[in-house]
């Protein structure tokens, strides 16, 4: 069948691609300018350190979050035990923790003046240097990233375990295979795309992080980009380094794609019959419970309590009306932007769905690449064309002086879309994959047009993924730093910029309250998200 590709959807998709890939092309364009003065210096002294430290960090984090994420997902989706329902959602909570705040909280817990160390020292006289446990090193960084990012894998794996057609697993049990064998031979391979998707998202988070690695003293590529650009004032070398970073991300995406091979994972029978949860008892139950409790304790409860402790100490200093205002603004900005991002992602994916041809697929992939580029570099890519547009608009309207879009909320939201499209895109993509294309084709063969099919058939079917996508984006935006810092209007603060301001001024305790709010606000949608995933089960 020849696909008729000249439809309204492809036109819109193309226009959106044109708009949202301008920053990317601007950055690529900069690559063709000659290297800056410090490039040679970077190449001789630093680049191998960046490769080494980025590699070790990624490797450690992948292993750790793979183990934690998949095992937690398997336990809560296959076994029945006391507290399972609570663990289901508590395991997602660390997602609301910005990495750098996690790092601050943990050093706060273990540091010399922290409550734990102070208590031990003052009661037993035991001392072991600046930290009870020193996290300011590579192991510490792997630890911090692992506990804050494993929920990506957990969420994806759990959704996949729950959605898997049970036919295969039941067959496996009937053939006398154990739980472990079934897990290894059936559930895991079937969930591989989801798990690898989660790992890929987490890797990109690690690659893009600046706050955490800076605080812990790890020299990753992103740290190098900031160093080249800011310490050396050499934006071209910074963009060269980002190009290498983007290549690494390409490699990760390529591996993600190729490991799927040519297998199609849209299972025809999405039988909602759920496998009986296995009841576990005795020592198995105790071990399961202890393991999950430990994960939640380490990844959320402890750092959360540390922030509460700091906030309590500084409550009168930070809490006032302007804080309520701050809260409102952050919330509004994040939700409006998230809705827009989901709408854009949906448009791309739906276009691809009804017009599955190669160049549309390429457009879609391109448009999600913003997530692979550090926020600060995106900010440059956004500002250059926006300022040009502004100057043109100003001429056109014969006004002078002011910038119309740059430095406004509109400019900031545009940048958010460029940067965070991938976060909303991936859940929707796997949502569509799960549904399969047949039902859409059936609807259209029955005479419904693409709009009607989208609204009546596809949207209700991927409702869960839509909300999951929205929530992931929302929580990410609430934590977002570099773009907001650079592109926001005058006198504009979000919770994240406020927390960062205070923390960079070494007022970490004062930064705890805004951080706490970011986390609590992030927790609410997470609980909602969990309810949604649970509806898959019932």
């Amino acid at each position: 069948m020849r696909l008729y590709w000249r439809n309204g959807w492809t036109l819109i998709a193309f226009l959106m691609f044109a708009a949202f890939s301008i920053p990317l092309f601007t950055i690529i364009g900069k690559l063709f300018s000659p290297p800056g003065d410090s490039w040679l210096h970077l190449k001789n002294h630093l680049i191998w350190i960046y490769f080494k430290e980025t590699g070790i960090l990624l490797f450690g984090v992948i292993i750790m979050i793979g183990i934690i994420g998949v095992s937690c997902a398997w336990l809560v989706s296959r076994y029945e035990f006391t507290g399972r329902k609570y663990f289901e959602w508590m395991l997602i909570l660390p997602l609301s923790f910005p990495g750098y705040i996690m790092a601050y909280a943990y050093t706060g817990i273990f540091e010399y003046t922290g409550p734990l160390y102070s208590f031990i020292r003052n009661s037993t006289g035991y001392e072991s240097g600046s930290y009870l446990i020193d996290l300011m090193n590579m192991q510490g960084a792997v630890f911090i990233f692992s506990i804050s990012l494993y929920p990506y894998v957990y969420l994806m794996a759990r959704t996949s375990f729950l959605k898997q057609s049970m036919v295969f697993q039941e067959a496996s049990f009937l053939l006398g295979k154990s739980q472990w064998q079934t897990f290894k031979k059936i559930a895991l391979p079937l969930s591989r795309p989801a798990i690898v998707g989660g790992l890929a998202l987490a890797c990109m988070e690690v690659l893009n992080d600046y706050g955490t690695v800076k605080y812990l003293g790890i020299q990753t590529f992103t740290a190098g980009i900031f160093r080249a650009w800011f310490s050396m004032g050499d934006s071209t070398s910074a963009i060269y380094l980002s190009a290498i970073l983007v290549l690494i991300v390409f490699l990760i995406l390529f591996l993600e794609n190729s490991q799927r091979g040519h297998q199609k994972f849209s299972s025809v029978i999405t039988s909602s019959n759920n496998l009986m949860m296995r009841k576990i008892t005795g020592w198995k139950k105790a071990v399961t419970f202890a393991f999950l409790f430990f994960v939640v304790l380490i990844a959320f409860v402890l750092p959360f309590l540390q922030l509460c402790y700091w906030s309590w100490q500084n409550l009168n200093k930070v809490m006032d009306m302007s804080f309520i205002h701050l809260l409102f603004r952050s919330f509004l900005l994040a939700s409006v932007s998230s809705i827009l991002i989901i709408a854009v992602a949906l448009t791309f994916l739906y276009t691809l769905r009804i017009t599955p041809i190669r160049w549309i697929k390429i457009l879609c992939k391109w448009s999600t690449l913003g997530y692979a580029i550090p926020g600060a570099v995106i900010a440059i890519g956004v500002m250059i064309p926006l300022i040009r547009l502004d100057k043109w608009l100003v001429q056109l309207m014969d006004m002078h002086g002011t910038l119309l879009i740059t430095g406004t909320i509109a400019g900031l939201i545009f940048a958010y879309i460029v940067r965070f499209l991938a976060v909303g895109y991936h859940p929707l993509e796997s949502g569509f994959e799960k549904v399969g294309i047949q039902i859409n084709e059936a609807s259209r063969m029955a005479g419904a047009n693409s709009w009607k099919t989208l609204i009546k058939i596809d949207l209700p079917l991927i409702k869960t993924s839509l909300l999951a996508g929205f929530i992931l984006v929302f929580v990410d935006l609430l934590k977002e730093l570099p773009l907001t810092l650079i592109l926001r209007p005058f006198n504009f603060h979000t919770l994240a910029t406020k927390a960062f301001d205070l923390a960079t001024n070494e007022m970490i305790a004062e930064a705890a309250l805004p951080s706490l709010v970011i986390i609590i606000v992030g927790v609410i949608p997470i609980i909602l998200l969990n309810k949604l995933i649970r509806t898959i089960q019932v």
Partner: protein, 346 residues
């Protein structure tokens, strides 16, 4: 169906709310001044509020790191809304000047209030406060008579005893930039190499962390900025105050050129739309009210000679300052960064 209606109506509603909300908050009054600042201190906002009260000029602030702000100014070019750029280091101001982002300003008030060494020769930037980079040493383990100068830190006797933060930090870069000037590039590199070899641990954490590490016995001498010590003495956390009690402050190089000082300062941007207001604000910042406010709340040294330091700073005593012109810090910054990388000072 129900769901998509919900989705689209909530989308529309939130869009409308946000548009009206943002536009109402973006309305500008006639008299205003726009600041790009790297300073994130609470004291600053109080000073701006007082300024608005006195002059009726509204102060609009964007805070971010100086480098990001410089990049922003560069990109915005002649349509930049910024009137003033404020940084926490002279090197960055010098960089902004060299990139043509600042303009020359004639003001007798600024010239009277800010000493020569702390402002630009071409009147493009002016120091607003001073901070000294000093040694915080362990009162238990270090005899202050043993301490002398920055150069001495490279001496083998301090092997495994020094603490400082990463070379990413501008305060360390400026210190090395000053040493490049005083010792020459070769010697400065040797200094960096030997000083790094004396570190108790790889450079990491912030200035406070170094002080705590001295208190915790991980090292004996930390290179830190004065005002952090001031802020720590007033910390809510009792353990933090106890930690500061265990350290002494030493101002290096008193017998020769003096202790390295840096400034937080500002300049009027090249295309400032509200130039007159910008100058008024800069002047206000160097006048006694703002100066003593900064000194007392943020423990910075005032640049205005007529304003007294905070009681705590006075207790540390007067000290001899390195009178090196601060523009040198900017000129040598890149060399400093490169030396740090060459000797692998993280």
């Amino acid at each position: 169906m129900k769901f998509s209606i919900q989705l689209s109506s909530s989308l529309l509603l939130s869009l409308l709310i946000s548009i009206s909300f943002f536009y109402s908050s973006c309305k500008s009054s006639t008299e205003e001044v726009n600041i790009y600042t790297h300073r994130h201190y609470e004291a600053d906002q109080q000073i701006y509020d007082r300024f608005t009260e006195e002059t009726g000029i509204k102060v609009n602030v964007v805070s971010a790191s100086a480098d990001e702000l410089i990049q922003k100014l560069e990109l915005e070019g002649s349509s930049s809304p910024a009137d003033i750029l404020i940084t926490v280091d002279a090197g960055r101001l010098e960089r902004a000047k060299n990139k043509g982002l600042l303009q020359s300003v004639t003001s007798s008030i600024l010239e009277n209030n800010v000493p020569d060494a702390l402002r630009d020769k071409d009147k493009m930037w002016f120091g607003l406060t001073k901070r000294a980079r000093v040694f915080a040493y362990s009162l238990d383990r270090v005899d202050p008579d043993q301490l002398s100068s920055y150069e001495d830190l490279a001496n083998e006797k301090w092997r495994g005893k020094l603490l400082t933060r990463s070379s990413e930090n501008i305060y360390n870069q400026s210190l090395l930039a000053s040493l490049i000037h005083h010792l020459g590039e070769e010697e400065a590199k040797i200094w960096a190499e030997n000083t790094l070899a004396n570190m108790a641990r790889p450079p990491k954490g912030n200035d406070r962390d170094q002080v705590i590490a001295v208190a915790a016995g991980e090292g004996d001498i930390a290179i830190v900025n004065t005002y952090y010590i001031g802020l720590m003495t007033r910390d809510q956390n009792e353990e933090m105050r106890k930690a500061v009690d265990k350290i002494g402050l030493f101002f290096p190089n008193q017998s020769d050129r003096g202790t390295h000082v840096n400034i937080s300062g500002g300049g009027v941007t090249r295309y400032a739309p509200n130039k007159a207001n910008a100058i008024t604000l800069l002047e206000f910042l160097t006048k006694p009210y703002a100066q003593s406010h900064l000194a007392n709340i943020n423990f910075e040294y005032p640049v205005n000679k007529e304003v007294e330091s905070s009681p705590l700073l006075k207790r540390w005593g007067p000290f001899k300052e390195d009178t090196l012109h601060l523009s040198v810090l900017g000129e040598n910054n890149q060399k400093a960064v490169m030396i740090f990388d060459q000797v692998k000072w993280k």
